[in-house]
C-alpha cells in the first residue's frame, strides 16, 4: 500500500478534504444537536447554582463532561469535524470559494481570494469568545438567560434544523444567525474563532499533547509559510523541538497535507504518515460517545 506521503500534495489535500467532508456530513445528519447539548450543560450548571438549586448528573452534564474529556485527550477535534454549526459554516465557505472561482457576477465585484483580516485585529478578536462565554455564564447565573434565550442564534438554528418554524419569539436569534452565516461564508471558521462560547470553553481545557502538531523547522523551504496560510484557525506552528499546544487548533489537518516537505508531525511520532487513520479513530471514539449518550 502506498503511504500518504507518497501521494502528491494535491492528491493528499483532496483526499483529506473528502474524508473530512464525509465525516462532517455524517455528524451533521446523525448528531446535529451535540454542540448545543454540551453548551446546555454549562447553562444548566450555572442556572441551577445561581438559583440555589441542586445540580445532578443530567444528560446535558453527561454530554458536556464527555466532550470535555474527549477534548482533553484529542484536542478540539469535535470543533473541526463533528460540530454541526462549524460544518454548516464550512459548507457555506466552500460554496463561497466555489462561486468566487466560477461565477462571473461575484468575481466582477471582488477578488478571486477572500479578504484577510490584519493579524493584530485577529489577535484582539480571538478574545471575544471568552467575553461571550463569561457573559452567558453570568446571565445564566443571574437567571436572566431563560427570558432572553430568543436572542440565541443557536436556538434559531436548532429549530430550523428540526423543522420547527414557530420562530415568533426567535426573530432576534434568526437575524443574528443570518449575520453569523454571512460571516462564516466570507471567512472560514469566522464564528468558531471569534465568537463561539463553546469553543472558548474547550480551549480553556488542558489538552494533552497527543494530537498537538509541530514542525521540523530546519527542513522548511525558506519563506514558505504554506502551513500558516492554510490554517483556518490562524495558528503558527511552533519552532522545532517545542511541545507547545495550540489551543485554537481544531485538528483539520490542512497544514499537514499542504506542507510540500511533509515537515509537520503529531505529538505521537508514529501517527506521522497515518493522519487519516488517526482521524478515523477519533471519529469512531466520538461517534461511540454520541451513541452511548443517545444525543
Amino acid at each position: 500500500m502506498k503511504k500518504m506521503r507518497d501521494f502528491t500534495i494535491k492528491e493528499r489535500k483532496r483526499f483529506q478534504a473528502w474524508i473530512r467532508a464525509l465525516i462532517q456530513l455524517a455528524c451533521f445528519i446523525f448528531f446535529p444537536s451535540a454542540f448545543t447539548t454540551a453548551f446546555a450543560g454549562i447553562k444548566y450548571l450555572l442556572t441551577q447554582i445561581g438559583a440555589g438549586e441542586e445540580i445532578a448528573w443530567t444528560p446535558f452534564v453527561a454530554v458536556l463532561a464527555a466532550l470535555c474529556l474527549f477534548t482533553i485527550l484529542f484536542g478540539r477535534f469535535f470543533c473541526g469535524f463533528a460540530c454541526a454549526f462549524g460544518s454548516l459554516g464550512d459548507a457555506l465557505h466552500g460554496l463561497y470559494l466555489y462561486l468566487l472561482a466560477n461565477s462571473k457576477i461575484i468575481r466582477r465585484r471582488s477578488r478571486k481570494k477572500p479578504r484577510k483580516l490584519p493579524k493584530s485585529r485577529e489577535k484582539w478578536l480571538g478574545a471575544v469568545p471568552y467575553i461571550i462565554l463569561a457573559a452567558i455564564v453570568l446571565l445564566c447565573f443571574s437567571g436572566i438567560w431563560d427570558r432572553i434565550s430568543g436572542l440565541s442564534p443557536w436556538e434559531a438554528f436548532s429549530m430550523l434544523r428540526a423543522g420547527n418554524f414557530k420562530l415568533k419569539g426567535h426573530l432576534a436569534g434568526l437575524c443574528l444567525l443570518g449575520i453569523l452565516l454571512a460571516g462564516m461564508c466570507m471567512k472560514e471558521r469566522f464564528f468558531c474563532r471569534f465568537l463561539c462560547p463553546m469553543g472558548a470553553a474547550f480551549s480553556l481545557l488542558p489538552v494533552l499533547p497527543l494530537s498537538s502538531l509541530g514542525r521540523d523547522r530546519e527542513r522548511c523551504i525558506p519563506g514558505c509559510s504554506a502551513c500558516s496560510r492554510s490554517c483556518p484557525a490562524g495558528i503558527e506552528l511552533p519552532e522545532s523541538g517545542k511541545k507547545e499546544n495550540a489551543y485554537g487548533c481544531f485538528q483539520c489537518q490542512k497544514c499537514v497535507n499542504v506542507c510540500p516537505k511533509g515537515n509537520i508531525y503529531c505529538g505521537i511520532p508514529r501517527i506521522r504518515g497515518n493522519e487519516v487513520l488517526a482521524t478515523l479513530v477519533k471519529t469512531a471514539v466520538l461517534a461511540g460517545i454520541f451513541l452511548w449518550l443517545d444525543i
Binding site: 444537536s33 447539548t37 446546555a40 445540580i55 446535558f60 420547527n164 488542558p206 499533547p209 449518550l293
Partner: protein, 148 residues
Amino acid sequence: MRSFWIRTVNLAAIVGILFTYHMVLSIYNSKDQVARLQAELERVEPKLQNDGRRSAPAEYQDGVYSGEAEGFGGPISLEVTITDGRIADIQILSAEGEDGAYFSMAENMIPTVLERQSPEVDTISGATFSSNGIRNAMKQALGKAGEK
C-alpha cells in the same frame, strides 16, 4: 507546558467547586426533606385514623388514555394510565423528532407529575419545547380521562 498545568489546576478547581456544591446541597436538601415528610406524616396520620382511607380523592376515570402534542421537531405521543382514579403511569409512545438529551431532560417532569397528580408542573429549563410537548400531550390525555 506551564499553561497546561495552569489549565489543569483551573479545571480541577471548577470540578471541585461543582462537586462540593452538589454534596453540600444534597445533604442540606435531604435534611430538609426529612423534616418536610415528618410534618406531612403528622398532618396526615390523625386523618387516616379518622376515616381509615387514603387522603387524595379520585379525580379521573380508570383506563388508558393517549395524548399527542407538538414537541421540538415533531409530535410527541404518550399514554396515561389511570388506576383507582389516580395517574398511575405515563408512557412515552413516540418522540421521533426530539433530540435525545433534551428529551431525556424533559422526561424528568413525569415523576413530578405522578407525585403531584397534576400535569401543571414547571417545564425543564433548557428543554422547553420538549417539556411543553410532554405537558400538552398529558393534558390532552387527562382531558379524555375527564375530571369527576
